[in-house]
């Protein structure tokens, strides 16, 4: 999310979890033009429910400068109930409560600030449910 144009393009995915379901049934978020598993190009848009399960996670203690004030924070690979796999921060919890298999819900949060004068970037993060 480096500038206003790219940020605006990504709003449907980052704000509303608008992904895609290919003919094969594979679901993705963020979107891609070709299903990497089948090579299929036809898909329908799908709005994800925001419910999912943690497949893996880690703790970030030395982040990129942009996220320096937020460290330490947890990041997880999450499989949504529809089958999409995505990466998101897991917030509002103690790290020891995060487990592989934990149920999560995607919520709307501020992701980063572009310096002191740039735009604020919003999108999805996860909380344990």
């Amino acid at each position: 999310m480096a500038n206003s144009q790219r940020y605006t393009r990504e709003i449907p995915r980052r704000y509303r979890l608008e992904g895609q379901r290919f003919v094969s049934g594979n679901v993705y978020l963020p979107m891609r033009y070709i299903d990497p598993e089948t090579g299929e190009r036809k898909f329908d848009p799908i709005r994800l429910s925001g419910k999912g399960t943690i497949l893996s996670f880690t703790e970030i203690h030395i982040p990129a400068d942009t996220y320096a004030r937020e460290a330490p924070f947890a990041v997880a690979i999450i499989e949504t109930d529809e089958g999409a796999r995505l990466t998101a921060q897991v917030v509002d919890c103690n790290f020891e409560d995060i487990k592989i298999g934990s149920k999560v819900e995607l919520i709307f949060r501020k992701i980063m600030e572009e310096g002191n004068s740039g735009i604020l970037n919003y999108g999805y993060k996860a909380i344990l449910v």
Binding site: Y15, D92, I107, F108, K110, L120, Y122, K125
Partner: protein, 348 residues
């Protein structure tokens, strides 16, 4: 019939106890807790602001309303902590919720009254027949300077209300507004924290406007305090709303449900709206509720609501205000609190 078709609240999971703040500044914790009637307050997460709180509250309101977001014709967000100085909070909120682009959006500011103000404008839109639904939100991540009395109360949270004509759960029976130029609390451009007039914020500001609005509303409606199941008054601290209610003839049990300040703090524009959401969580068909907001500067907007039979069908469709308040709580020490609230300044 015109009224609320959906309502929802949200407060962050983080908290700081009044005792923790008192210990930081050498104040007597017992005196503070007894004086303000506040045990703890909400603190926004580092990734939470008026926009994210508005989205969370609005999602709960949409769950209860059960309407297509595209049918909402106006969205107003009242706050004194809009994240941008120039760029609307409302545009982010509508795009996150799937509302618009055919929608009227505005950010409002009137100290702590801006949330109730958004409700008043939404009600007026529906009354005029201009649109089917309109959503008013009051949300804040309130500022209070380190060591200032405001630091004990300034907190984070908000509530959202969708107004319409069909499937109303609480009818708007009467409204009234009471406003005058009273500089009791303010924040100038580029200043981080508001300033206030100390005791001047009491009788000449809060009580003059809250009681002025409430008395006019009771007179207009030809109702008395005992006609209401619940009442909520703006909650800058624990004492002021209870004192105002008592002067008007309300009993403690009528004020208990909406008096969320002891656990939430003062969510500024979200204060009386969040208390009202807590009341709607339990209001029974046919029962009436009384709401008086207050915003420094100064003014009060008042509402009288009556619940319809439908309210019991929607109350369980989203988390209740007290359920969120008394649910997951992560307590912070003063150092973390200062960092979360950006009271520690960095050079880059």
């Amino acid at each position: 019939m015109i009224g609320i078709v959906g309502f929802g609240a949200y407060v962050p999971a983080y908290r700081i106890k009044s005792r923790t703040i008192a210990e930081q500044w050498g104040d007597d914790a017992g005196t503070i807790e007894r004086g303000l009637l506040m045990q703890e307050k909400t603190v926004p997460g580092r990734d939470e602001d008026t926009i994210t709180i508005s989205v969370a509250a609005a999602k709960n309101a949409l769950k209860r309303a059960g309407i297509d977001p595209q049918k909402i014709g106006a969205v107003y967000i009242g706050s004194e902590s809009h994240p941008y100085a120039v760029k609307p909070s409302g545009t982010v909120v509508i795009d996150a919720l799937g509302i618009g682009p055919h929608v009227h959006v505005a950010d409002l500011e009137f100290a702590c009254k801006a949330g109730a103000e958004s409700m008043y404008i939404c009600y007026s839109h529906i009354k005029s027949g201009e649109m089917d639904y309109a959503m008013g939100i009051g949300a804040d991540t309130s500022q209070g300077a380190p060591g200032d009395a405001l630091e004990y109360s300034a907190s984070a949270g908000g509530a959202a209300f969708i107004f319409g004509r069909e499937n109303v759960v609480a009818e708007v029976m009467y409204t009234h507004s009471f406003t005058s130029d009273t500089p009791d609390f303010w924040r100038r451009e580029y200043e981080h924290y508001p300033r206030h007039g100390g005791r001047f914020t009491g009788e000449p500001a809060y009580f003059k406007h809250v009681l002025g609005c409430a008395k006019a509303l009771l007179e207009k409606s030809n109702m008395k305090a005992e006609d209401f199941a619940h009442a909520v008054f703006h909650m800058p601290n624990g004492k002021f709303p209870l004192k105002a209610g008592k002067i008007l003839g309300f009993k403690q049990e009528q004020m208990d449900q909406g008096w969320v300040v002891n656990l939430m703090g003062n969510t500024y524009s979200g204060s009386s709206p969040t208390g009202m959401a807590a009341i709607l969580d339990v209001l029974k068909p046919g029962e009436k509720a009384f709401m008086i907001s207050f915003g420094s500067g100064a003014g009060s907007d008042g509402f009288i609501f009556e619940a319809t039979d439908r309210i019991t069908e929607v109350q369980g469709l989203a988390p209740t205000t007290r359920g969120i308040l008394e649910g997951k709580r992560i307590f912070l020490d003063y150092g973390k609190y200062a960092a979360y609230r950006r009271k520690i300044r960095f050079d880059n």
